[in-house]
């Protein structure tokens, strides 16, 4: 079975990875009180603390800054966790890979699904921020869903690329984690780019800027530049193609590397 056929079958057979992904969360939090919402509370507190402090430092109104920060941080949380866990997705799934006939792509879908569910839980923070700050919401907010789909496709491709490299070279996950920390500061999450800065390559060459913008801007009822959509869709497409090529080339070797 060729790689694209395998992936198509895995998508068709979504019951497998959606149940396993959901089970990951359900059983992890079974004996806790608040469950996955603990993550929400800790994210909320961080956002509040940074929000109030940096709003003062940047001389912005908290009513403008905190919603912006909240959206950015929660989207980044999704990106960060998915990439970090994604590096190790085959290593973590080694027992299953070596004892069952489940196709390897299942583990990638399971990871994305699990993190998507957690993202939806974290979304509560944005809702709380909205009930407090009540910024104008427009129907164009629904475009955030399209943005999320594009982000999902990008992360799927990226996880395919990174997981293969990290399974073969076991020091890569550390390097990826460090690069992500760097990217967090390079991306406009804590800071807002002025018009002048938007033109600088440091901003627009960073695909995460566009990927975060296409989700964040609709939620904040801000306009998204066509350029942002272009870069987001383009980078998602490119990394997906690269991921699929690498998966096709290396998937039969992955079990040997575990």
């Amino acid at each position: 079975m060729s790689a694209p056929v395998e992936i198509a079958r895995t998508i068709q057979n979504y019951g497998l990875w959606s149940t396993l992904g959901w089970a990951d969360i359900k059983f992890r939090y079974r004996r806790t009180m608040i469950g996955p919402f603990w993550l929400v509370i800790s994210t909320g507190v961080t956002i509040l603390a940074i929000g109030v402090l940096y709003a003062g430092l940047f001389r912005k109104h908290t009513a403008d800054y905190i919603p912006y920060l909240a959206c950015g941080m929660i989207i980044w949380g999704f990106i960060n966790t998915t990439i970090v866990e994604g590096c190790n997705v085959f290593i973590t799934a080694a027992p299953i890979i070596k004892s069952s006939s489940i196709p390897l792509s299942v583990h990638v879908f399971r990871l994305l699904w699990r993190n998507a569910i957690i993202f939806l839980h974290s979304f509560v923070v944005i809702l709380v921020a909205w009930t407090y700050y009540q910024w104008a919401l427009e129907p164009s907010a629904l475009f955030a869903i399209a943005g999320l789909v594009i982000l999902g496709v990008f992360l799927f491709g990226l996880v395919l690329v990174l997981s293969i490299i990290c399974t073969r070279f076991r020091d890569m996950p550390q390097i990826v984690t460090s690069l992500l920390q760097l990217l967090f500061f390079l991306s406009p999450i804590i800071w807002t780019p002025s018009q002048a800065m938007r033109a600088s390559p440091i901003v627009w060459l960073n695909p995460f800027y566009s990927l975060i913008e296409v989700v964040r801007a609709p939620l904040l009822a801000q306009a998204v530049d066509a350029r942002e959509w272009g870069i987001a869709i383009g980078s998602a497409g490119l990394i997906l193609i690269l991921g699929l090529m690498m998966y096709g080339r290396f998937r039969r070797l992955i079990a040997y590397w575990l």
Binding site: L16, T19, A23, R30, I96, S101, I102, L253, Y256
Partner: protein
Amino acid sequence: MVKIELKNVGVDFILYETSARSLKKTAFRTAVGGFISNKDDGSKTMVRALQDISLTLNDGDRLALMGPNGAGKTTLLRVLAGIYYPTSGSITVQGQCVPLFDISLGLDDEATGYENIMLRGLVMGLDRKEIEKRVEEISEFSGLGEFLHLPVRTYSSGMTLRLLFSIATSVNSDILLMDEWIAMGDADFIERANQRLHGVVSRSRILAFASHNPAYLKAVCNRAVLLEAGRIVAEGSVDDVLSHYQSDRQVDAAQAAVKEAADQNEATSEAGSVSASQQGLPPPPESAPSEIRRSDPVV
């Protein structure tokens, strides 16, 4: 149509982390384990787990895989399961494989018995509807009753085993792959469990079963293959291959005894004392190989 065809299948494990310089010879065979060598350019170490395996399995074949530890039985099963894609040769599989290598795979301690039935079933490759159809017969066979509503961490290990066994033996598979007999649990369960395991085996259209236990192999298989250092050295009916394997082991044991005697002879003659005959070891059989070196006693 269910069929498996292997043509000159080879599996080489390349060890990326070891240096080729740590091996004294370029390639050597060991009595236990596979065939270790350096890759052609000497840069990496490699274990040749399977070599030149050609085999065809058709509907109704129940194949026994025999051989010493490290011969390649488990590797061959994993090739059949699609886990290790051959590094040389080709394999064609028609039909769905259910590998029963690890019956606790996918088990989650926090999940209830019923939830674990779903988890285990999914990991075995069944889809949700198939699993839901089987839940009742699995729970009935396990005899765990109301406990199935409780998380598996509250079970004794025997109860967990009953549950896992019931789930594993509920499958209807085209191709069933087993690595050793599945552990069955306590005394009153064993009788029913035996019947059930024979049931699942007979429901499968092809079976490949690796084991060291001749009784199980004779009970369940109709063909056999003997593996040694990754190669098939004998093929045929279960009885034929078993007798070949057992006579091989007698020759190996005798050779090992002779070699041990020779080594002790060398060691003690360097110290200037006793020779082999005085130690009361059995004389070497006529078919002993000429590899044994005897040094002259140093007085």
